[in-house]
Symmetry: C2
Subunit: 110 residues, 2 copies
DNA sequence: AAAGTACTTTCCATACTGGAAAGTGGTTGT
DNA sequence: ACAACCACTTTCCAGTATGGAAAGTACTTT
């Protein structure tokens, strides 16, 4: 019934949402997509890893080191629960946060 | 595109969501519904008032003083925008935060 | 050897949150 | 009249967390 404090902070919510939509995402891609600094992504990524919500994979692309993040099952479950809680909190207002089949607006009750 | 920091903190999100669903709500009702202390509700309420998101009305019920909160138009607009942003952030995952006609589950894509 | 890439850590200064406790203004009980 | 109570409001007090800047690590490229 509570909003998971590991996920709720804006930056982490965005990271988790992004990862929930992809298999795996590159450090640089996430950083640029969210528009955060290296240090912020590194720190928030670690926080999510410590919570067991994401898995960090290090590897190479050619000879350059790269880091990838991916949601763990636990992280996905936590995100799903988080979104469910958000829904319970927000939905009485009649507003929806629901995308239509192919992404659509937020509006008053349908 | 950003999650309004005035609304985002859990307690305030819950206050605003509750007010968005009602015309007006009594201090005690909100406090008990959210399960927060007097001081927390008082402080967060003031924060929302300062932001111009809610209006605080003081009156009496018999001879006892009572306080009511109601969302201002500005507050409602901010909440709507907030929810829209939430949707943009969360929806790529395929999860929805949308209630069905009469409140329903969160699930995978429909 | 110097510079660059891809992060990670440390440092720092600033919020912000919530609980406890004290305070305010008016009311009810004895 | 005086103590106790109601309905909040404020103050006091930690304890956290956040983000940017800068320094550090480990390589690789020029």
């Amino acid at each position: 019934m509570e909003l998971d404090p590991v996920i709720h902070p804006p930056t982490r919510l965005q990271i988790v949402s992004l990862l929930a939509a992809a298999e795996e995402a590159e450090f640089g891609f996430v950083r640029d997509t969210l528009g955060v600094s290296d240090s912020v992504l590194s720190k928030q990524g670690s926080a999510l890893e410590t919570a067991g919500y994401i898995q960090v994979r290090k590897g190479y692309v050619g000879k350059r080191p790269k880091t990838w993040f991916r949601l763990t099952d636990r992280g996905r479950a936590a995100f799903t629960a988080y979104v469910a809680n958000l829904q319970r909190i927000v939905s009485p207002s009649g507003l929806t946060v629901a995308p239509e089949e192919r992404g659509q607006a937020v509006g008053r009750p349908r």
